[in-house]
Symmetry: D2
Subunit: 333 residues, 4 copies
């Protein structure tokens, strides 16, 4: 087992579940430290139930994670295969995101053991599972920040921009915006279709004020969706439009804190599922959950296919809840 790529809250719950389930089925678990780096460097430790009993309330990963660019090379995958064989291992559980799964698929070309992925990434951008481990916690943290901003925003009637993670997918942005009742979202999915201009944004801010009276205007900005991010956009609004605005950049705060209950429960289910998939002889699949059912998804599908935003959620937050009414046609469903 290893945890790889950006860490995600709930990874500890996942590795705990792997260890407890393995022990339940009389299997032994070795954990490589620092992701694929540890696999290449033969840095590992044996994990027993007693080692992981109470780790599920902490974020991060007790076996550490790392990005490992050199793992793309053939030699690296071959070395990893040799190390796995030398240790007599028959299966590898990789907890991580799409980069980690690409690594797993790459390794599968040089190693005969079973490989199971467990989706651990706050971005929720993997095809084949309704949720990834860490996503719920990231949304909770972003929402909490937005709630705090609202308190002060309401006291001062100002514009605020909160930059959240998710450069390729607006899951955190959309969910936190809806949960906190933000007035505006700037998400990759929306920017792709029709990039927002500052002028259009200012127009919206003014129309919201006209419709609703003075009050706070809180915006959620996905990272990499504006040159210079929240800081630059804030400066533009102030400099060009004399509109008092304050930025906020959550950054890696979104990866920490006590994992949300649903992340711990999801991680527990998927960790057990990974072990049971091994018992069933599966390989090159990701343990996932769809419509409350445990599923196994081919690893390649997880990044080659697209996990779209929930259209109904997007419609509700972007259209129905938009303080500036756009249209009011009957719902088509």
């Amino acid at each position: 087992m290893l945890t790889s790529g950006g860490d995600a809250p709930g990874m500890n719950a996942a590795l705990r579940a792997v260890v407890l389930a393995a022990e339940h089925y009389d299997m032994e678990v070795i954990a490589f430290r620092h992701g694929y780096e540890g696999l290449l460097d033969n840095e590992y430790l044996s994990l027993k139930a007693a080692d992981v009993l109470h780790v599920l309330q902490y974020s991060g990963t007790i076996i550490k994670s790392a990005r490992c660019p050199r793992f793309k090379e053939v030699a690296a995958a071959q070395l990893a295969a040799e190390n796995l064989d030398a240790l007599g291992l028959s299966a590898l559980v990789v907890i991580g995101g799409d980069g980690s799964f690409r690594g797993a698929e790459h390794l599968s070309q040089y190693w005969q053991g079973q490989i199971i992925g467990v989706p651990g990434t706050i971005d929720n951008d993997l095809y084949g599972t309704d949720a990834t481990i860490g996503y719920a916690t990231a949304v909770a943290i972003a929402m909490d920040a937005l709630d705090k901003i609202r308190d002060t925003a309401d006291a001062m009637d100002r514009v605020f921009i909160v930059e959240v993670m998710g450069r390729h997918a607006g899951f955190i942005g959309l969910s936190s915006a809806m949960a906190a009742g933000a007035e505006r979202m700037i998400l990759p999915e929306l920017q792709r279709d029709k990039p927002l201009t500052v002028a259009a944004l200012v127009k919206h801010i003014k129309r919201v004020e006209a419709v609703r009276g003075p009050g706070s205007y809180v915006m959620v900005l996905s990272e990499h969706q504006w040159p210079g991010g929240a800081v630059a956009l804030s400066e533009q609004l102030e400099a060009e439009f004399d509109m008092p605005c304050r930025p906020c950049l959550l950054g890696h705060i979104q990866r920490g804190g006590a994992p949300a209950p649903s992340d711990r429960i999801l991680a527990s289910q998927l960790g057990v599922h990974a072990i049971e998939l091994i018992l069933q002889g599966a390989t090159r699949v990701m343990a996932g959950i769809k419509a409350n059912q445990m599923v196994a998804v081919p690893l390649v599908d997880t990044w080659t296919k697209k996990n779209p935003l929930d259209e109904n959620l997007l419609r509700i937050q972007h259209e129905i809840f938009n303080p500036v009414k756009k249209s009011a046609s009957k719902p088509s469903q």
Copy 2:
């Protein structure tokens, strides 16, 4: 619209969604205060978007809730029907649990307007929806309490009992126990099959210690599953078995606090769905969500049919994660 029965975190998000969606579709909303009491007493107010913009971060309900035993009488339902007609209302949205839905069904026999239920209860015990509004928050609060107990339990190697809500259904108990890694659950569903004795419990505590070495033992007890609750069980363990034990009774703490993101999002979806169901001509149904799809469930089904615990979750927490191994047959799936 009204909120009825025990309040649930996210009710404000639900009523906000009802108001925003109604405004979007050019409908007007009147809210009765104190549930059916307000309907009978003609205590109501008009709600506009501006009134509900930033209420979604608070628990409770800004239009207050109440239980209303007298609503079971025919005369009460007739009076309610008259009041609704006198106000020229064409539809009623009831946010609450099974008791509130029984009231709604009762009313439907005397009133011609459309009636839509929105599931708002921390117990998650309604058939037809994957989750009820408030449940996720209650689990988060119970988990947080269990986490805190674990901190101190680990420092002192003791037994702790945390009593949670859910007298008829073990959802909060099971989910919080799994999320916090509790050593034991006493849930209605488990007690029904095979009630636990103190002796059996003590045996389990001792076997866990034997298997795992000294450490903390944290138990989740659903309310009404032990005579005298956590306090009495704790005293029994101390008096009869000389086993240091501390109780904790969460009570209504589980209904408060900032609603969890998933409760706010669920409430937002269901509130909009309720309005759109009205537009579609539906009545005597509950707006629900199943496998990520919005559904409409006959109100009577919500309490006559059973919402069972997730069997896989129960199996994982009760068997796989049980520190005292029972069996290790291969999974049958």
Copy 3:
């Protein structure tokens, strides 16, 4: 060093400070596990800076705590003295409450080394220091519970009783009641003068409602101030006075969670102060803080002298903020 008695949030920050300060001054630290038990059983470990760097964000104590009744015996103190000498130790830092300090004073009769106490107890009941480590966190947790109760209490207009720690001193009760705006407190200090009757309580509840209109009534009850605690008092109000009431028993939740900033800062200061007191040759004193100054208080004073509640705080919460006005004489100061 050892941590003894009931654990308190911030003990880890204190032991970290002891280790970091010791290293700074080229001293070595050995930690006994499980308090005086470890001292008697020679269960100890060496602690270096690297072992304690990031422990300050967790409650509990990484070196475990325990109560040790047998330490009162002469033989125990003599054995402890022998063990300390055998290890060549010149000073002992005891992090704990009054029981732990009595143990330390007892030991000082049989051991020549320096003994420094560090006040670690959530009860804040030690003379000679403005605050003890863990108190601020306990208040924060009690306040958070009271806030959550208020959310739901306001939705339903009911009476709630929250039982908090502090059987001998009402610090947690008073501070959390004031911080959360509770309508009533039942504290040891108030009960001593004039024990409350149920009838008087009911009268107050009704007068509050009369003065203020319907609304929630939240009560803070210190443990051991009512036979049967919050559960029994709640039943009495319901049974005898038909007054809907819900109890809540926080228990050891108050010892867990992330330590409050002020507890971590206090613990850091006192841990360093303990080491610097050793360097200065002090013994049989507690490291404390009074009016922002670091002080050294004779150990015996800490439990023989009384740490009273802040009179101004008590006056404000009990008289000025009491919804039922009693008197309005000019302040005498």
Copy 4:
């Protein structure tokens, strides 16, 4: 009464205390909305106990705040004096920071009524009081962010920079750094003496790693202490020194959330104190607290005199806890 300048968590608790104490002493309270703006525009409302009972758990200010640059003009102060007299008011309580107190002092030259300041600012930069309302909450929020960063930082062994408020005073920076065990602080007070260069910073990062082994390095940066802030410094470390680094900009998050217990208690004490100072005939003073005693400080002192950082705290965090040891002379006290 009015709340002015940047809002601070606990302002609601302060205004609640003012109202409750006023009612206790049979005084009436009128609140101006939006600070001095409301005083100039005659925008006010009457506040009774019932209006403020349960506002103390929320940040922000229910009577809104604002900055009011035009209040520096003589005409503005004269207009304010006229408005106050027209309403028959005999005293004004100003809850705010140094800017607000300058306004109050300015007004006192044109108005005969009593003027009392209540220190409400997260920056803690007012002379004459041990703490200002909002400071403890801001520290708690910054610490929480740092804790979350540590979780993920430990998983990945990286450098992180968290930018906190306090451009003129390092209180939030120092306290949150100590509470969270940060490896480095960049504070106004430290920068003034000896501005840090990137090269020196990189050297420190490397020495910490050399001394302590690989691990996380978390830095607290007070705003306005680095050109371009945390984002720019992070880019410099990455671009010039190939050192992976992630920034985080807390911004106004530090002003929101549930006020910390100590802020609510402080605000309650100071609000009552303000009313009692009025009864005692005081004017042009700030209600403060020093060494647990209520004090009255001339308004002009609050900004003309300097509130220095606690030297002992600074010494502990910057020297004793610095992973890179500098000196180990015996403490001089």
